[in-house]
Symmetry: C2
Subunit: 391 residues, 2 copies
């Protein structure tokens, strides 16, 4: 990315700093000269920015690179364990906590179970407690904490970030941002859970240089985060990506949204467990949890396998529609999906190929996420880190 000559413009100075930081991050080792060449800034201007980043300990000198004639150049890299960000993911029955350094390394990870769904007040209280606990345990200096990102399973107002609806938590019109800012006294950012997962794929996962992708989260419900032209796409009011209610089976179950045969009634974890428990065709006790369903399926229980495959066919149909409409390069299936990907991914790919148009289907790859259930907490921690790199 080309930098811009700044004069005394503070905004442009910060922008150039971010551009330099981002080049150091993405190159995984780069010299001052290469930075100047790539940004178009003078050697002096580049040197000044690099010195200030070294002083502030965002970056460090890694060693000497290869010479292209003269002296061997000093290679710069991000400094691990220098600055940190927190990511929280509010799930219906638990809170995930992640602490990440600016290189993307996770240095702390915790899952705290909750007996019931969090109320907003409980969520604020628990996040504050977990934050303090981690800061103390890791002996973090507050001036090294970039901020806190919070992932919420719901629709957020695009401007105010008020939570308009979070059905799995039973929340509507909830203000979480300001109370958290007051409680933590540090920059706080909220985002939708699926968007946090998509952001995690984009920053650390399988979609680092992918312009157009969709990250579909399979868990109690089904949601997705869209990255289009390399950036989070939210729609006009922040609710883009609600793919859980694509109808995929006209004779399917009634969904809580009021319609029939929505994707999430058939392909979500809750949907699959309900369908397995409803089936009386076999003598096995399928049990009430998804882990039991998976165990039975792996042991050859046909009813459990059938439920998983029906989920996969439905997901494949919905993906076909997304391929036709959005023409993405990748579709990443995340959250619980990697736990059972090997049982169903072929069915999903085959179904999507069958129902999508040939050309866009040939351009799209359907893959399981390399993260599991903590992708949203990871993505939440990435929000304050991204800002450092002007992303």
């Amino acid at each position: 990315m080309k930098a811009i000559k700044t004069g005394n413009n503070q905004y442009l100075k910060e922008l150039n700093k971010a551009i330099i930081m981002d080049l150091i991050r993405t190159s995984e080792g780069i010299s001052r000269k290469a930075l100047a060449d790539k940004t178009g800034l003078s050697a002096t201007a580049t040197g000044t920015i690099v010195s200030s980043l070294l002083d502030d300990e965002y970056i460090q000198e890694k060693g000497l690179g290869k010479s292209s004639g003269g002296r061997k150049p000093v290679i710069l890299e991000l400094k691990p364990r220098s600055y940190f960000a927190f990511g929280f993911d509010i799930d219906s029955h638990c809170l995930y906590t992640i602490v990440m350094d600016i290189t993307g390394d996770v240095i702390y990870k915790r899952k705290r179970e909750n007996q019931n769904d969090f109320t907003p007040q409980q969520a604020i209280k628990t996040i504050t407690k977990e934050y303090t606990k981690a800061v103390t345990k890791l002996k973090l200096s507050e001036d090294k904490i970039l901020g806190v990102g919070v992932s919420v399973p719901g629709i957020l107002d695009i401007v105010s970030k008020k939570i308009i609806l979070a059905p799995n938590l039973g929340w509507s019109m909830v203000e979480l941002l300001e109370p958290l800012k007051s409680a933590l006294d540090i920059p706080v950012y909220l985002d939708n859970e699926s968007m946090c997962s998509a952001s995690c794929e984009n920053w650390l996962g399988l979609c680092k240089d992918v312009e157009d992708f969709i990250c579909i989260n399979i868990e109690s419900g089904i949601g997705s985060g869209l990255f289009l032209r390399g950036k989070a796409y939210r729609g006009i009011s922040g609710s883009a990506g609600e793919v859980g209610h694509i109808p995929v089976n006209e004779s399917g179950p009634v969904c809580k949204c009021g319609n029939v045969g929505c994707l999430e009634t058939i392909a979500s974890i809750n949907g699959m467990v309900a369908r397995a428990n409803k089936s009386k065709k076999n003598n096995h006790d399928i049990g009430k949890t998804f882990n039991e369903l998976l165990k039975n399926a792996r042991e050859g229980d046909e009813e459990c396998l059938r439920v998983l495959k029906e989920g996969a066919v439905s997901l494949g149909k919905a993906i076909a529609y997304l391929i036709n409409t959005i023409n993405p390069q990748k579709i990443v299936l995340g959250k619980r999906f990697p736990d059972y990907s090997e049982l169903v991914i072929d069915v999903i790919r085959k179904t999507a190929k069958k129902y999508a148009l040939t050309y866009p289907a040939s351009q799209s790859e359907i893959i399981p996420s390399s993260f599991g259930e903590d992708s949203s907490a990871l993505g939440a921690a990435i929000i304050p880190i991204r800002k450092l790199f002007g992303r």
Copy 2:
């Protein structure tokens, strides 16, 4: 939009010129001082650009504006009939020709019927003939012609613009751009037909300041063009917006794509005509054209009305998925749709509301286009004009 200080950078000079031009266009009358204020350029730099635009006759002085203390300022506007662009739309049985000036005024319009589908060679020949005819008739000087845009009903390669597939023309892997450039000896641009219509809505129609919208064309088939974050969205390989194959009825007709109950089998013009002709329930002769179908429906023929309403319900369902997935501000229904909008728009709105999630549905407006069948030719003519304004 802020301009950038240029020094001697030719690229930035052109950029600033385009920014000034675009401000003049969108303000519909603006003074030099207001231009300087809005761009952040000096009075001298602004004056130089304005003089050069006046010399080249892109703009003209309109008269005097209101004084804010001193002299009354001279108001600048785009100069009508100064520069022109051509738009062609290759349809299966006809070619639309549009000539537009830089203000967006259409000064020439022609629809040329063809007995059969165009072959690529026929298309090139016919476009060349129609171009020459219009240039001669309008006595256009070639240095005042900005370029030619061509709308094609198919999927174009995003880089080479080769036509990968145009099913209604029976074309696959067709090179049209280079032969047309050679034949016309002027800049030529190709784009997908639905995207041309969307671009027309964005430049001249109902979506001028709309960030996220979808323009769905109802004609022999069904396609759509997506504008997301204010810009054409094409997907990773140029085929985004293929909404004609969203499945909407599991017991519906078999589609030419091989699947069952695709939107366009039920809601396209060809689909509706086929369904009306297939129906034997009434004694009317429904006839073979969509115009006859509409006439009968308006005269109270229940079968014809039923076919239109089934189309509307299917369209409403597909729009519901689009609302959930993309969360657009507007959904514009174009091409043949305005001809019968009043008969079905309420059914479409009601169905979309029923099947979409409440919140995004409340943020989306479903409206008929204010253009008819020539929206793609208009959008094609806009391609060379857009470039003048850096858009």
